[in-house]
């Protein structure tokens, strides 16, 4: 016989578990909107549990601020499992914090130590204007994708998926490029605020696959043109993007993009297309 029993005795337990022993000072960038200027404000984060994620720690701080009648700190976040690409904090000099290969939402407080001062800044790039506090506007990324980051097929394709043979190595390599989550950490990490890792990941994914071949050279030209228009810097091949990318997208993508671009511009007469502006 199955019965429901009460688990309230454990709920109290959860409350206690949230009381950690870490006390931190946060230096947080506060900025009302894109038009106003911002400044750093210090906050205390007390009784933080090392099991909290970084964003949960901010949740706790925000709860405190709300209770006091202050305005909570605004930051972007959504899935909190490292895949949506929405979270975007520059923590102690690193996009997504000091730990490699993780997004901010997957960064846990045990990475820090008690008494530490943590500086939290928004992504800095003219192409990523601040929305509020720590959130920035990354719509430039969408516009770059809209310029050509697709295969032009309408719904209703009737070619069987297996009609196209794709070597496993090619499918795997394309997948590696396709894992980009579009968070913008590459731009944030780059000393030139260059978006090339992001742009080249999509160009490489589609450039490797047979489906992407018909538009391969027009795609690279349109996407690079849009990238330039958005005001991102250029690549100095420093590799900071690769080192800070939470999905560990490789610098090789940029070389592949360069190759396709130069090939299109210099050696493929029929592919030359002049931008409208």
């Amino acid at each position: 016989m199955y019965l429901i029993l009460d688990t309230n005795y454990l709920i109290q337990n959860l409350k206690e578990m949230s009381n950690g022993n870490m006390n931190l000072t946060l230096k947080v960038w506060r900025q009302k909107n894109a038009q106003t200027s911002g400044k750093f404000v210090s906050y205390k984060a007390e009784n933080i549990s090392p099991d909290m994620s970084f964003l949960e720690m901010l949740d706790v701080v925000n709860e405190g601020l709300t209770h006091k009648g202050d305005e909570p700190i605004n930051f972007d976040h959504d899935c909190r499992e490292g895949i949506c690409g929405m979270c975007s904090l520059y923590i102690n000099g690193h996009p997504h914090g000091p730990k490699r290969g993780v997004t901010t939402c997957q960064l846990h407080m045990r990475t820090f130590h008690d008494g530490e001062t943590i500086t939290i800044e928004p992504w800095r790039a003219s192409a990523f204007p601040v929305v509020k506090d720590l959130a920035v506007d990354r719509s430039a990324f969408d516009r770059i994708q809209q310029a050509g980051g697709y295969v032009s097929v309408n719904t209703g394709v009737t070619t069987d998926g297996n009609a196209l043979l794709i070597p496993k190595v090619i499918a795997d390599e394309a997948f590696n490029s396709a894992t980009c989550i579009g968070c913008g950490a590459c731009v944030a990490a780059c000393k030139n605020a260059s978006a090339m890792l992001f742009v080249s990941a999509k160009i490489t994914q589609l450039g490797l696959l047979p489906q992407g071949q018909p538009e391969r050279y027009s795609r690279v030209q349109s996407m690079v043109a849009q990238m330039d228009e958005e005001g991102f810097g250029s690549c100095t091949n420093t590799g900071a993007c690769e080192a800070e990318c939470p999905k560990e997208i490789k610098l090789t993508n940029i070389a592949r993009m360069n190759n396709d671009f130069l090939s299109a511009k210099l050696f493929r007469e029929e592919e030359i297309h002049e931008a409208k502006h």
Partner: protein
């Protein structure tokens, strides 16, 4: 906007120019270091002075030389343009910056390049400019006994003002009369500050090429699992170690020779 202009105005196009001029300059310094090795030949500057004369009087080389000067100017100018654009891409900097995995040299190409540019200006005004324009620069006469192969040297005062050089053979003795750039080298490298500046500049060259050589290949899109390690090795050992070392050795060696004299 024309297609060509558009290509080279794009971020990737500008980088292409940087890469191509950079690689061209890399090939030049191979030649340059090769020629300068004559400084170590201990022949009172015979080989070196003849070489300097050859470089300035052989027409095809002169043409290449002008392409070279243009490359330097374009490389520096585009570096400036790109840097300004990159600065504009991040108008507000970070309060905290951290050590990232990016190499020091890759992040300081502008600084290194500026040192090199300053070096090139001083270097050229000291040697190239004087060689071409300094009327007071002396001449040397080298007499080589073709029988024994022995060479003797002496100062030579040209009979006419616009004398440049001459080669003749008298009594089985080859007489070569050329401008004595070597003397200038000896003089310059006897000054400690000059030697130190040279060594620093060659350090800058080393770091500049450590990143620049392989980066140019990336910019051109030439990356390959098999060949890129070779590019890295050449960029590191040949361009960032051997070449700057040889260049830096010259002033040090001459200074040392001067001191022990």
């Amino acid at each position: 906007m024309s297609e060509i202009k558009q290509t080279f105005n794009s971020s990737l196009g500008k980088k292409l120019i940087m890469a191509l001029t950079g690689l061209f300059l890399c090939t030049f310094i191979i030649v340059h270091v090769g020629g300068n090795l004559l400084l170590f030949s201990n022949d009172n500057g015979f080989g070196f002075n003849v070489y300097a004369n050859f470089l300035t009087h052989f027409p095809p080389i002169e043409v290449i030389a002008y392409i070279l000067y243009l490359s330097i100017v374009v490389h520096a100018l585009y570096a400036l343009i790109i840097t300004l654009k990159n600065r504009k891409a991040r108008p507000v900097g970070y309060a905290v910056t951290s050590k990232s995995d990016a190499t020091w040299s890759s992040k300081n190409m502008g600084l290194l390049g500026s040192i090199l540019l300053l070096f090139i200006v001083i270097h050229m005004s000291d040697f190239w400019f004087r060689y071409h324009n300094d009327k007071t620069m002396g001449f040397k006469e080298y007499r080589t006994d073709l029988g024994t192969g022995k060479t003797t040297e002496s100062t030579y005062t040209p009979p006419v003002a616009d004398f440049s050089h001459s080669v003749s053979t008298e009594n089985n003795v080859e007489i070569v009369r050329v401008k004595d750039l070597h003397a200038r080298v000896v003089y310059s490298f006897s000054q400690l500050w000059y030697v130190i500046f040279y060594v620093i500049a060659m350090g800058a060259l080393s770091f500049h090429l450590l990143h620049g050589f392989q980066s140019a290949f990336r910019t051109l899109g030439w990356v390959h699992r098999k060949y890129t390690p070779i590019v890295y090795a050449v960029g590191t050992w040949f361009f960032a170690v051997i070449i700057p070392f040889l260049f830096a050795l010259m002033p040090v060696w001459y200074y040392y020779q001067n001191v022990i004299k």
